[in-house]
């Protein structure tokens, strides 16, 4: 009984912290990988993203200034042409099977 009382006073360092959840705010600004020996990123990362790559997702913390600076939305009354978008949003090439399908009115798909 004495031992139980002694143990009852002890607070384990391990404790249940609840179900894991994705943090509400995540800073996606590129930083050095935790296992990187140099603990730094080449300047090319920042340069690339600031210059051309902000279409790939959230790259910077969502402060008001960065949001307006990096916003991919066109100004009111203006529109992007597809040719201005990054390649990933561009038209993909037709495959031979698709061309055959168009030319044969779909018949080649069932040949």
């Amino acid at each position: 009984m004495n031992a139980t009382r002694v143990l009852a006073r002890r607070t384990p360092l391990i404790h249940f912290v609840g179900k894991r959840a994705i943090p509400e705010t995540i800073d996606h600004t590129p930083r050095a990988h935790p296992a990187s020996p140099s603990s730094s990123l080449p300047t090319s990362f920042k340069q690339y993203r600031e210059a051309i790559a902000n279409q790939h997702g959230p790259l910077v913390s969502r402060s008001a200034s960065s949001k307006s600076y990096f916003s991919p939305k066109p100004a009111p009354g203006e529109f992007f042409d597809r040719s201005e978008l990054p390649k990933r949003f561009g038209r993909l090439g037709w495959s031979a099977a698709e061309i055959d399908a168009v030319q044969s009115g779909g018949a080649s798909a069932f040949a």
Binding site: L7, I22, H28, G77, L92, A109
Partner: protein, 510 residues
């Protein structure tokens, strides 16, 4: 930028429905206005993983489980990468079976078991290894099918940031995989030794060392790290005279605690492995029937020539990026060839991520697996998790060595005050009944908070036991937390508990 944009009149076009990579076979009519992507939409993937090793195949499965249309490109012709095909798995088969052979031949007589006529059937041992490998690699293919991952057999190369070109293994025409995201998981290869040409017969890497057709009389292992000691153990047990030549003064590589490295070296030496520590290999000659190596002591400059039938080059591994097309997208590597990434595994192209041996961190299959899951989660959810402070390392010799967290040398260097607790297996009841008492458990904990900083084990089953240590480090446990947790009797894990007791107070049985 255009001031106006005239949307085209809707027209019906054909597009593939759930088409496969090479030849879409089913089409349906789609309204042009409603479709957001274009002619080959059905062939575009959300994720293409290059490399089907432990990092790559796990990333592919996880991505598919998260609902992403995923393909995995693998050039080996079998999934599982180095680990399953020529690394962890086949070496463990040989380690396990050579241990059984050695025990039957030399150990069971001390246990009241008389056995006669024991002989080695190396061909049979290799067949058992191959069976394990085949079973596991084909199992991954099944997992791919179950999870809907497209398995593309061929050599993948990044053409641009949204396209991977694949040269099929069967010699067919090149396949183009359009994708929103690319995960590079191309792994690593053995670092060659300058001046010694690898022929995988006389001068071998780990790949050749798991496939020797006969037991060499003499074997030299260049490099006293995990791979060298594991393969040295295998061939030593099977009858080879093994000499390990190591440039550093301790075995096990930089991650192994100095006390444990000393303990391990002493045990392996007792098993018959010879060590040439702090010794440099100057040159080698494999032109004759065997191989001769000129070595030099780092301490006193004394030179010597060693002869062997087989030399195992195990001086480390290097990232494998050959033919990957990094130059096509300007992806950078560091001075050791590792692809540079940020904290979310992104290269400078944020849709191209890199995991496993080909980038930073320990070259361990389980580390790559963790990264594979995290990378897929970053793509889908924007959040993933890998704790690099809680990645275990295991050396599967006998006894095994396993560790997690910091070494005593690292803690000392950090300037943090710490306490150490140890417990030898000679004082553990189960180890004694097993007649297998080599080794010990060592804890390092913060002196002020008692938080566990590192756990190091040398002993039978250390590789399994370290899992408890990894959990403790992940949770931020104190040594007292572990010491006050009941461990079954009689088990080897009681040594783990007692070492924790010795760290915050005193062990009972030592």
């Amino acid at each position: 930028m255009l001031k106006t944009f005239q949307r085209q009149t809707a027209t019906a076009v054909l597009r593939p429905l759930r088409s496969r990579i090479a030849s879409p076979s089913t089409f349906y009519i789609a309204d042009r206005q409603s479709r957001r992507a274009y002619s080959s939409e059905g062939t575009e993937h959300d994720v293409v993983v290059i490399g089907g090793g432990p990092g790559g195949y796990v990333a592919a499965i996880k991505a598919a489980q998260l609902g992403l249309k995923t393909a995995c490109v693998e050039k080996r012709g079998a999934l599982g990468g180095t680990c399953l095909n020529v690394g962890c798995i086949p070496s463990k088969s040989l380690l396990n079976n050579s241990h059984i052979y050695h025990q039957i031949k030399h150990d069971v007589k001390h246990r009241g078991i008389d056995v006669e006529g024991v002989s080695l059937n190396l061909e049979g041992m290799m067949a058992a290894k191959d069976k394990s490998v085949k079973g596991l690699t084909s199992g991954i293919e099944t997992l791919f099918k179950m999870n809907g991952v497209d398995y593309v057999k061929g050599t993948g190369s990044i053409a641009n940031e949204t396209e991977v070109k694949v040269q099929p293994l069967d010699g067919g025409s090149e396949i183009s995989l359009k994708t929103k995201n690319i995960i590079i998981a191309t792994g690593s290869e053995a670092t060659p030794f300058p001046g010694l040409e690898i022929d995988e017969k006389k001068v071998v890497t780990s790949t050749g060392a798991i496939a020797l057709s006969e037991v060499p009389k003499k074997m030299i292992v260049i490099g006293g790290g995990i791979i060298g000691l594991e393969m040295g153990s295998v061939w030593s047990r099977l009858g080879a005279e093994v000499t390990v030549v190591e440039f550093l003064e301790a075995i096990g590589g930089p991650g192994m605690d100095a006390d444990m490295a000393k303990t391990m070296q002493r045990i392996l030496a007792k098993q018959g492995i010879k060590f040439k520590m702090a010794t440099k290999v100057l040159s080698g000659d494999a032109s004759g029937e065997g191989v001769s190596l000129n070595i030099e002591s780092v301490k006193n400059g004394k030179t010597e020539t060693l002869d062997a039938d087989v030399v195992l080059v195990a001086i480390g591994r290097r990232p494998y990026t050959e033919g990957l097309g990094l130059e096509n997208v300007g992806i950078e590597t560091d001075e050791r060839g590792r692809i540079i990434i940020d904290q979310e595994y992104r290269t400078k192209h944020s849709n191209i991520r890199v995991i496993g041996d080909v980038t930073f961190g320990a070259m361990l299959a389980h580390k790559a697996e963790e990264e594979g899951i995290a990378a897929a989660e970053f793509i889908k959810k924007g959040y993933g998790h890998v704790n690099y402070g809680a990645i275990p390392s295991v050396m599967y010799t006998h006894p095994e060595a396993a560790w997690v967290g910091q070494t005593e040398q690292e803690v000392k260097k950090s300037g943090k005050e710490y306490v150490v607790g140890t417990f030898p297996f000679i004082a553990n009841s189960r180890a004694k009944t097993n007649l297998d008492t080599d080794g010990m458990v060592k804890f390092i904990a913060d002196k002020e908070t008692d938080r566990v900083l590192g756990i190091h084990i040398v002993g039978a089953n250390a590789g399994e036991m370290i899992a408890e240590g990894v959990l403790a480090i992940e949770y931020g446990a104190s040594s007292e937390d572990i010491a006050r947790t009941s461990h079954a009797h009689p088990t080897l894990s009681e040594a783990f508990k007692e070492a924790a007791m010795a760290t915050y107070d005193k062990a009972i049985h030592a």
